[in-house]
């Protein structure tokens, strides 16, 4: 199977990529032209404006790296003259900072700064004038809806990454050797392309409390002759029905990454296990899965983090009713009304992820050793 992929040369791949990119842009332009009111607008040419802004944005970014390097090497520490060697060394000491500067500037500004600001805000009351210490947190602790949201959220953080990773792994493994595997993969990946709002819509259909609209109820009626129920009101289990939506979306992500990892497993180890008498299931769970554990961690982490940030599904499907509240959507109840409490909830969310982070940092440390 490696043979197939290797037949393409790398430069060929890159050439292809460029062709695809140009082709894609042309296609997009063509689609745009087909839309009726584009032609009219070509007069003040928003496409041209769009292209211009894109070129400026991306170009500016490339320009920074390119120019700053030139300045560093040619102007500040020129590799010429008496202390060329020293200059080169100095330039090399500065360069890492040059490389990470934009990233960390952006991280600091867009993430670290709001985090600090928000934390301070969470210590103030509703109006933002009175310092109340951990009052908001204390209030949250006794709020029963908050307690439920925390419980549900922990459930989400456990079930969704596990489910997505599991299905992703199974899909990656099973489709790997199928002649139509790529098609299957594409179909399983498709939900990734659907926005959360679109996905909620799709699932509203599936779960509709009407055997004439919702396939779940139609199925129940057809098989068991049961009356239609509202899956989203089945207490406790409705959480899982909502989680399944996110699993359905994220499986594609897990599958794509894990499939690449599975291909990286040396085939001999698998063959050795077969000769050792392992069944396909044993080969999968005892040989393959442990070997891609690192990738599984990455996938798991990414999805966990996503889960803790996503509120759209609960928000649009149940609005947090029927005992399905989770922290991000709970936070929305306060957002713009009582920012003190909203930010406090946000910090509770971050707290929940902390174990995952710590685990990751430990993992990264191990790797570096």
């Amino acid at each position: 199977m490696a043979v197939q992929e290797d037949t393409q040369g790398a430069s060929f791949i890159q050439g292809q990529a460029v062709i695809w990119l140009i082709g894609g842009l042309l296609l997009v332009a063509a689609i745009a032209l087909l839309l009726p009111d584009v032609r009219g607008m070509l007069g003040n040419s928003p496409i041209l404006q769009g292209v211009l802004t894109i070129v400026l944005g991306v170009g500016g970014c490339i320009g920074y790296f390119w120019a700053s390097n030139i300045v560093l090497d040619k102007v500040i520490f020129p590799a010429k003259g008496a202390n060329a060697g020293k200059n080169i060394n100095r330039a090399n000491m500065v360069r890492p900072w040059l490389f990470i500067f934009p990233a960390f500037a952006a991280l600091g500004l867009y993430l670290a700064y709001p985090v600090v600001g928000s934390f301070i805000r969470s210590l103030y009351d509703r109006s933002g004038d009175t310092f109340i210490g951990f009052g908001n947190y204390a209030w949250l602790m006794q709020d029963s809806e908050f307690q439920q949201a925390v419980f549900n959220n922990i459930l989400w953080a456990l079930v969704v990454p596990a489910g997505s990773t599991f299905f992703g792994l199974v899909a990656a493994q099973l489709t790997d050797r199928l002649s139509w595997g790529n098609i299957a993969k594409s179909l399983i990946f498709m939900p990734m392309a659907i926005s959360f709002v679109g996905a909620s819509l799709i699932w509203k259909f599936v779960y509709a409390n009407d055997a004439d609209i919702g396939i779940v109820n139609a199925f129940r009626e057809w098989v068991f002759g049961a009356d239609s129920v509202d899956p989203l009101q089945v207490s406790f289990w409705n959480n899982f029905f909502l989680m399944f939506i996110l699993i359905w979306i994220q499986t594609g992500f897990a599958m794509v990454i894990l499939s690449a990892a599975l291909r990286g497993i040396p085939e001999e180890t698998v063959e050795a296990a077969i000769v050792d008498g392992a069944s396909p299931l044993q080969v999968f769970f005892k040989i393959k899965v442990p070997q891609i554990m690192g990738t599984i961690v990455v996938v798991w982490t990414t999805i966990t983090i996503l889960v803790l940030k996503v509120f759209d599904i609960v928000y649009t499907m149940t609005g947090g009713n029927f005992g399905t509240q989770i922290l991000p959507s709970y936070m929305f109840e306060f957002m713009f009304r009582d920012d003190g409490r909203a930010t406090a909830v946000a910090f509770v969310i971050m707290l929940i992820v902390t174990p995952v982070m710590v685990w990751n940092i430990i993992q990264a440390r191990k790797e570096m050793r």
């Binding site: 040396p266 001999e268 180890t269 063959e271 050795a272 296990a273 077969i274 008498g277």
Partner: protein, 372 residues
């Protein structure tokens, strides 16, 4: 503890690429068979077919009298040691060795006993708790072997098990394998290697694979025999050059006298050289290749020599000295002589070579006169 019978075995990849054809081979219980052959000739493929990792496209494979073409690998009672070791990177040495037994649902004690016995035999006891990445190459190799031993299989398959080791380790591990074989006189082993020395020292019989004459891409068995048979009486130029390092020198020549022994004149020599290979009267005047192994070549001062040339490169290995001669315009492979001891300053000298009649081989159209 098993004998293998390959009958007309063939392998076709993807319905088109024929790789192996007409493989007929009987392997007796307790033998250690070595497969050698040029890279890409299908040695691994053959091994993998025996293991069941590759479907057999034609012919039958019998183990202990039972046709096993369609028996899955796990039920063939074989163990395989891969070129890349194929250790399970996430398991300790102990678990690597125990894996097959755990799969077979053996009892804890039984597993422990088998693993510790094997570890003992291979001096791995103190590494049992380590992961493979914390082992040196040689240790990994031994774990791979240990993994096969614990299962006590009927047949062992080794696919170039030593090719990733450095020279010193290779020698040591080779000897270990030889001793292992000796401790288990009833087990059948099949061993693939590129390495001359391994083949010669380990094999009870060597199987040489070569391209079929009619088609350069299909391979079959060229010769089967004990190492010394192959060394002393190769049946073809191919086998002759393949066994022995550096390869046998082949000099173009002509038969000038036939009979119990044969007298030859080479193109690059003066005078004649005699071979103990008998020939028929009708061979008189036939164009043949005269084969002399580098180590059989002796420098001579007499005017009766089979080859004479200027030493182009001289490699002094201490114990022996290799002399490389240019063969003449347009011909690439040098003639090589291996002289015992140290001979400094030979470079640029013209040396004349001849050989003992017992050690002169004759090939006509690629086939040895002995075997026609």
């Amino acid at each position: 503890m098993a004998n293998l019978k390959l009958k007309d075995v063939a392998k076709v990849y993807g319905g088109q690429v024929e790789v192996l054809k007409d493989i007929d081979l009987d392997i007796e219980t307790g033998e250690l068979i070595v497969f050698v052959g040029p890279s890409g000739c299908g040695k691994s493929t053959l091994l993998r077919m025996i293991a069941g990792l590759e479907q057999i496209s034609g012919g039958t494979l019998e183990i202990d009298g039972m046709v096993v073409n369609d028996v899955p690998p796990s039920e063939r009672g074989i163990a395989m040691v891969f070129q890349s070791y194929a250790l399970y990177p996430h398991m300790t040495v102990y678990d690597n060795m125990a894996f097959a037994l755990q799969i077979a649902k053996k009892s804890k004690e039984e597993i422990d006993r088998a693993v510790r016995a094997a570890a003992d035999k291979l001096q791995l006891t103190e590494y049992l708790d380590r992961l493979p990445k914390a082992l040196s190459g040689g240790q990994r190799q031994r774990v791979a072997i240990g993994r096969s031993i614990v299962r006590d299989p009927k047949v062992y398959l080794f696919d170039e098990p030593l090719s990733n080791l450095d020279a010193a380790l290779r020698v040591a591990t080779r000897i270990e394998i030889a001793q292992l074989k000796e401790q288990m006189p009833d087990s059948t082993m099949i061993y693939v290697t590129h390495d001359q020395v391994e083949a010669m020292t380990l094999a009870s019989r060597i199987v040489v694979l070569d391209a079929l004459k009619d088609n350069g891409y299909k391979y079959s068995i060229a010769q089967v025999g004990t190492p010394l048979e192959l060394y002393e009486t190769p049946n073809s130029e191919f086998v002759a050059r393949f066994i022995g390092s550096p390869a046998m020198n082949l000099l173009e020549g002509e038969i000038v006298a036939t009979g119990e022994t044969t007298t030859l004149r080479t193109r690059l020599g003066a005078g004649t050289i005699t071979s103990n290979v008998p020939s028929r009267p009708e061979d008189q005047g036939a164009q043949v290749k005269v084969g002399i192994r580098p180590e059989d070549a002796v420098a001579t001062d007499s005017e009766d020599f089979a080859f004479s040339g200027k030493v182009e490169v001289e490699e002094r290995l201490g114990e022996v000295t290799l002399l490389y001669f240019e063969r003449g315009a347009g011909q690439n492979d040098p003639v090589i002589a291996k002289l015992p001891g140290i001979h400094p300053g030979m470079r640029g000298n013209t040396v004349k070579l001849t050989a003992d009649p017992a050690k002169v081989h004759i090939f006509q159209d690629g086939t040895s006169l002995l075997y026609r």
